[in-house]
């Protein structure tokens, strides 16, 4: 596997499959934070120690496979151009923080992009595992086996009382962050989500709008994840998260039904206006694109728009971000140039569906 493969396609191979409840849950992710027992953590460690860790991962895992995760690519972040880094961040294969740690950071990414391992992020090792749709239990199971696979060669910083010893006290214990990415347009439209977020926070879960600033979720995409990592088993944390996600799915479906009953025509109008904008505009900002894509995706889910694949939301949300656009253009683009290219890529992509 080479870096070029990751750069060319906006949508990761694992996203092509449809998971359970994928009309609402776009993806499930488990992230485990791990560290070497005998080496200081990246914020304080000497550069040569961190380079040793990076080289350890290259020497031991490059081109290796584990179960269905084949042919790991080793990517030294320092070798990447700014645009390439940005693309990996936009695809959620690496974190913005890893991209900044360029000197000693690296990523190990499986061919299907389902597993990515960040080396020398805030912790020495961050294992990330993605599943399409609502599949947290599967993701946890796989993350555990992958963790065991790494532990064959790595002595983890682990303590009976405190668990996995992470750099940040917010991750100690399980070192696990479980999260789901949800498309909640009806709850956002009816503003119900604003009332639900504080209640969800009370349960020790964090809700964040993806794309967009602060609490505003452009494109109605929200990430829900656990805040607590200590004092509960991974299974219990996942179970608690699942039960909240199930309720959100339920509320979203009910809200969709209610809008369909009460204001079907204006919803239909909104969806088709957005469809029109995406199909015909010549200049489009990322925020407007995100809103229209969300509406079109809802239109697909509700059966107003046929013959357009559901994946279009996931795919175009990534494809139309600044990094990807510039990767596509093979040069740096001004904001105006990006808006023009974004509009043209969206038009092209919708043409493909016909």
């Amino acid at each position: 596997m080479t870096l070029q493969n990751f750069m060319n396609e906006a949508i990761s191979p694992w996203m092509r499959e449809e998971g359970p409840d994928s009309d609402i849950v776009l993806s499930s992710r488990i992230r485990l934070a791990r560290n070497f027992a005998n080496i200081s953590y990246p914020i304080i460690a000497d550069k040569d120690k961190l380079e040793e860790i990076r080289d350890f991962f290259r020497d031991n895992y490059e081109h290796q496979s584990f179960e269905e995760y084949k042919d790991f690519a080793f990517v030294a972040i320092g070798d990447l151009s700014p645009v390439e880094k940005r693309v990996l961040v936009e695809k959620h294969l690496i974190s913005p923080h890893l991209a900044e740690n360029a000197e000693t950071a690296a990523a190990i990414i499986s061919e299907n992009e389902q597993v990515s391992l960040m080396v020398n992020e805030e912790d020495h090792i961050r294992i990330q595992l993605y599943f399409p749709g609502f599949q947290l239990e599967n993701a946890l199971q796989k993350a555990f086996t992958f963790d065991d696979f790494l532990e064959e060669k790595v002595n983890y910083a682990f303590d009976e009382t405190r668990g996995y010893l992470t750099s940040c006290p917010t991750n100690v214990g399980t070192g696990m962050r479980a999260s789901v990415m949800m498309h909640l347009p009806a709850l956002a439209m009816t503003k119900q989500i604003n009332r639900m977020i504080p209640a969800i926070n009370q349960l020790g879960l964090v809700v964040r709008g993806i794309y967009g600033e602060g609490s505003e979720a452009v494109g109605s995409i929200f990430q829900i994840s656990n805040q607590i990592t200590l004092g509960k088993t991974e299974e219990d944390i996942v179970e608690d998260l699942q039960s909240v996600v199930k309720q959100l799915i339920d509320h979203e479906r009910k809200a969709r039904t209610r809008i369909m009953e009460q204001s079907r025509t204006s919803l239909e109008d909104r969806i088709f206006r957005s469809y029109g904008v995406l199909e015909y505009s010549r200049i489009i900002e990322s925020k407007e694109a995100a809103v229209c894509l969300s509406n079109v995706r809802l239109g697909i889910d509700l059966g107003f728009i046929e013959n357009v694949s559901r994946n279009i939301l996931n795919e175009l949300m990534i494809l139309t971000q600044p990094g990807f656009l510039q990767q596509y253009a093979k040069r740096t683009l001004s904001a105006n140039e990006r808006d023009v290219l974004r509009a043209s890529l969206i038009r092209e992509r919708l043409q493909l569906e016909k």
Binding site: S40, I44, D148, E160, I228, T233
Partner: protein
């Protein structure tokens, strides 16, 4: 219980704090907790960063009064491996290495409690290879807890089964998980 600061309102917040390794209990109302810097909630919205920098301030040095002087005389805790001091840790909000956890261990419980909803002890996964005897120990704990519940529920048949499992496990001389990982 009344608040130990204002002696007016009921104490709704209960902390354990450590001064020179001395454990003491603090019982205060929410108003005093805010005023005396026991807690720093972000005013609006949720931010993990705010929460964290807030709880890092949750330290004995923010308490005004006679204790402050004795606190200042204490030699600063420093990690022997990575050389991070406790005040650096509070400032950065990150540990420098695994040994920091031992070094600062006496002061971590209040911090962990605040971040992890009152929890201070790991309950989750144990490393497969390194875990060694811990796997057996944890399994035993789980069985014993189950046994207690079954006896309470008067499910004696099932309880007997669990008891046999416990006996078998306790008599097993070595953990099969232990040994050469390769």
């Amino acid at each position: 219980m009344e608040c130990q600061e204002c002696h007016e309102r009921p104490a709704t917040l209960h902390f354990t704090q450590y001064i020179n390794g001395q454990k003491s209990e603090v019982h205060v109302c929410e108003v005093c907790a805010k005023e005396k810097g026991y807690m720093n909630y972000p005013e609006e919205g949720y931010s993990l960063h705010n929460l964290l920098s807030g709880l890092m301030n949750f330290d004995t040095s923010t308490i005004k009064g006679p204790q402050q002087n004795t606190f200042k005389q204490v030699q600063e805790l420093q990690c022997p491996k990575c050389e991070m001091t406790f005040s650096e840790f509070k400032q950065v909000g990150k540990f420098g290495c695994a040994v920091c956890y031992d070094t600062f261990s006496g002061r971590l419980d209040p911090i962990f409690r605040r971040v992890h909803a009152g929890n201070t002890k790991h309950q989750g996964k144990i490393p497969k290879r390194q875990g060694g005897d811990l796997h057996k120990k944890k399994l035993l704990e789980d069985y014993k807890m189950k046994l207690r519940r079954l006896i309470e529920d008067e499910a004696f048949e099932e309880a007997a089964e669990i008891r046999d499992k416990i006996k078998a496990l306790e008599n097993k001389p070595e953990d099969p998980e232990e040994g050469d990982p390769s």
